[in-house]
Amino acid sequence: MKLIAANAEPTATKGQNVLELANDADPRQVSLAGIERIELQFPKFTDGRAFSQAFLLRRRLGFNGDIRATGDVLVDQLPQMARSGFSSAVLRADQDLAVAERQLARYPAYYQGDAVQAKPHFQKAA
């Protein structure tokens, strides 16, 4: 997962086709044709709707571009963002990149299937 500091230079290359999606939008209702990056919003880190949006985009709709978390993005939610299908995140200004990397590296594996590892642990273990 690509981590972007809040004060970093805008990473959008000129002409890149970016779609911003509000967290009450249904990703199945929008056209993804030609879209290179989708930005999903966390208005507050405790509002978990964008996790489902990311999952649907990555798994259900097979979107292969960048899915970016924006807004109230805190280091402790990064592992679940990565597992839900986010590929980049713009951290809130006060967040520490080193702490973020430590959280992402913590768990070697999880129980349930997700957007990245579709199979649950029991199927991989079998």
Binding site: G48, S52, P108
Partner: protein
Amino acid sequence: MYQYTEFDRQFVRTRAAQYRDQLERFLSGQLDADAFKPLRLQNGWYIQRHAPMLRVAVPYGELSAAQVRVLARIAREYDQPSHEVFQGAVAAQNRLGDIQLRDGRAIGSRLPTGYAHFTTRQNVQYNWIPLDKSADVMELLASVGMHGIQTSGNCIRNITSDELAGIAVDEVADPRPFAEILRQWSTLHPEFAFLPRKFKVAITGAREDRAAIGWHDVGLQLVRNEGGQFANGAEGALGFKVLVGGGMGRTPVIGTTIREFLPCDQILNYLEAVVRVYNRWGRRDNAYKARIKILVKAEGQRYIDEVEEEYRQILEVDGAPHTITAAEFERVSASFVPPALNCDRKTADAKIAQILRAAAEDDIEFGRWLQRNVAPHKNPDLRAVTLSFKRLGQAPGDATADQLDAVAELAERFSAGEVRVTHSQNLVLPWVRCDQLPELWREARRLGLARPNIGLLTDMIACPGGDFCDLANARSITVAEAIHQRYQDLDELHDLGEIDLHISGCMNSCGHHHSGHIGILGVDKDGREWYQVTLGGSDGSALSGPAGPGKVVGPSFSSSEVPEAVEAILETYRVLRNPNEPFIETLRRVGAEPFKQAAHQVRHDLERRAEAVAEHAHQA
């Protein structure tokens, strides 16, 4: 019990390490209180009225003796506040005053330390552990495969089940393998850690609902499908009846059946649809309207249709990735093979007869214990024995460190090393040989855990209430104590028979007041403690009838009036009952009116009494 693999053990240790990292960042000021709050909650750590509270997860209520010993050690070594914290708590509680009883006695807060507390959701809580020791406690828990994962927070909470799961005589199938598979699926689910509100799942495999599934966000009942008929217990494909949208709180609602039959191997795929649709549409603007019950009530069939469509896409587009394989079901089920135990029933009968012939006192007490605390078992050689944690001087469901150590020993001697936390805040020994009942009775009696009151009035449910909880409007434990003191006579208790008395300190309903035959709810009025009394609630069991909330008895009562109101209600029952008719049946037969009138008569303030009676007459 489920046997942890190295993967499971490592997972829990990693969780403890992750929590320590978070705690240290919080204590050093690197992580602010708002960001830390949901992290600690999802590990079971609340900040309460006087001190932090820890809720330890006990998946579907099952504990090993080794785990009980660690719970005892935590009570002994960590459930200890600093002198300042304790003195502050005592001062705060003293300001609340005492409940004045009619006989002149007064009941105030006790604030015991060094205790563990069993909750209605089969978990274990501590009231005094300092936050700076919280990571040490999580590591200690992890040493026996325990944790506080998702015992709080707006996520899928620890899953509850029937306390007699796998041993009940009325069971269609053992729900524990499914409960364990659900535990694994819901643990650190990436998509569902920040739902609109908490999400509670209960599962049963029996005909008698001992898990109150209708009162949960999701209630699951194992059923067998034979030739398209839903014949419970008949041989056929195993599946789930799925209820969604039950809950207590401010708006009590019984779950809606959204599936009569779901093939059992599809439960994870189906629940993913249930929760995903809720995550999208559940209200986030008002915490009181954020539970799934409000969504299901508001949207009705539209919610169900959307779940079914999402489920179809999970199967057809995603490829049903969470289907439970036969291999996994067998692997998990292998942990739940009953221990090899049997006994010579002739010897057992002889021993029991011998005791019944012995001293008259023993005769009555042992007989009552056999009747109230000993339940039949799938294996006719075995019994399930309830240890009563409803005794005078201890809050309902409280256990000292010494009692927990003693329970661990009883579990090893008499119950294949296993013990279970019950929905009604007691412990069950699930594997007791019937020829060992007399020895177990003697040991349990010696420990004060053999009070034969299971299912009776004093087997009441109560939350920690205003003695500990930050949300409470009024105290629960003092009211429980006042009623317990009044009903000490076992002859009287047995004469009154089976009664569910449930006490909650506030609308959050942790004491399940809605489902009590008699419910007591703490309300805050003019900064004083008041209590609303309800009649006729049901958790959904055969005794109580279909699940449903009780009806309120007029305006609220003062703390001193509550024990008298309960007494008046029970006196009315004694007068009106038919022979052998339980309280709840008399209440249904004659209606609530005479009980309400009797309760109104105890109001100390004559003006309020007249108002209540007049208002009552108006409503009638």
